[in-house]
Symmetry: C2
Subunit: 105 residues, 2 copies
Amino acid sequence: NATAKAELGRATWKLLHTMTLRYPEEPTQDERDALDNYFHLFSRLYPCGECAAEFQQLLKKFPPQTSSRRAAATWLCVVHNQVNARLHKPEFDCANLDATYDCGC
Amino acid sequence: NATAKAELGRATWKLLHTMTLRYPEEPTQDERDALDNYFHLFSRLYPCGECAAEFQQLLKKFPPQTSSRRAAATWLCVVHNQVNARLHKPEFDCANLDATYDCGC
Ligand SMILES: Cc1cc2nc3c(=O)[nH]c(=O)nc-3n(C[C@H](O)[C@H](O)[C@H](O)COP(=O)(O)OP(=O)(O)OC[C@H]3O[C@@H](n4cnc5c(N)ncnc54)[C@H](O)[C@@H]3O)c2cc1C
Ligand SMILES: Cc1cc2nc3c(=O)[nH]c(=O)nc-3n(C[C@H](O)[C@H](O)[C@H](O)COP(=O)(O)OP(=O)(O)OC[C@H]3O[C@@H](n4cnc5c(N)ncnc54)[C@H](O)[C@@H]3O)c2cc1C
């Protein structure tokens, strides 16, 4: 059912964007590997099979950018916009990331 | 701010529970490693720092169960109940997992 799929998508994007926006400004190599591995494992385990397959292709075309918080957050915004385009949703202005996501932590 | 932290928590639990409930019934060793690594990386990257630290302790006490879908889903339910107890929230009946989570995929 499409509503459940959309709700899962919204919940997931919220976690992923907030995660990149709290990622270290100056990550160590270990932290960089952690984020890269996280996204690859995520793309295998995401519970919508069709979405997971598409996202794996996207990761090949746009490998995770992990050199800094800004790089990671912008990369994910661009990738989400690729999904938006495929689903005929409007493009999100990546300049609005910080104003949109607040984890309160 | 507490509302943002709670919303992030709700979104995240939704992803995690749906993920374990779609995990293979009979996973390969590679799939078992993927889920185990996923939860450990997640516990490092979760954007609420205090929650991440607590969750890392929980993973040490209750390592991810990855032998089957049922094992993984029940394990996560038990771990979430540990968080509920710490936050003085009611215990969730793990018999209701399937009825509560539907990803529509
Ligand atoms: C990895 C992944 C793959 C998916 N693949 C598919 C698929 O193949 N088919 C399918 O039907 N659904 C897929 N989904 C679900 C889909 O992306 C949407 O989540 C769902 O359709 C609900 O859309 P929405 O319009 O509520 O906004 P969402 O796309 O869920 O976005 C939620 C909110 O995030 C903000 N936002 C929007 N774009 C961006 C951006 N670029 N950067 C930062 N914030 C943004 C907006 O405030 C928006 O309201 C996928 C979800 C994920 C997480
Ligand atoms: C890994 C993690 C660690 C966290 N640590 C903290 C912390 O240290 N401090 C803090 O203040 N907040 C923490 N949170 C947030 C907190 O767990 C809640 O998400 C938040 O307080 C909102 O609570 P809620 O009452 O809406 O229900 P949530 O606990 O978010 O649960 C959402 C829904 O899931 C269902 N549910 C409840 N229990 C279970 C269960 N055992 N199994 C399956 N489904 C269930 C119910 O339908 C519930 O309404 C953490 C979140 C996560 C994901």
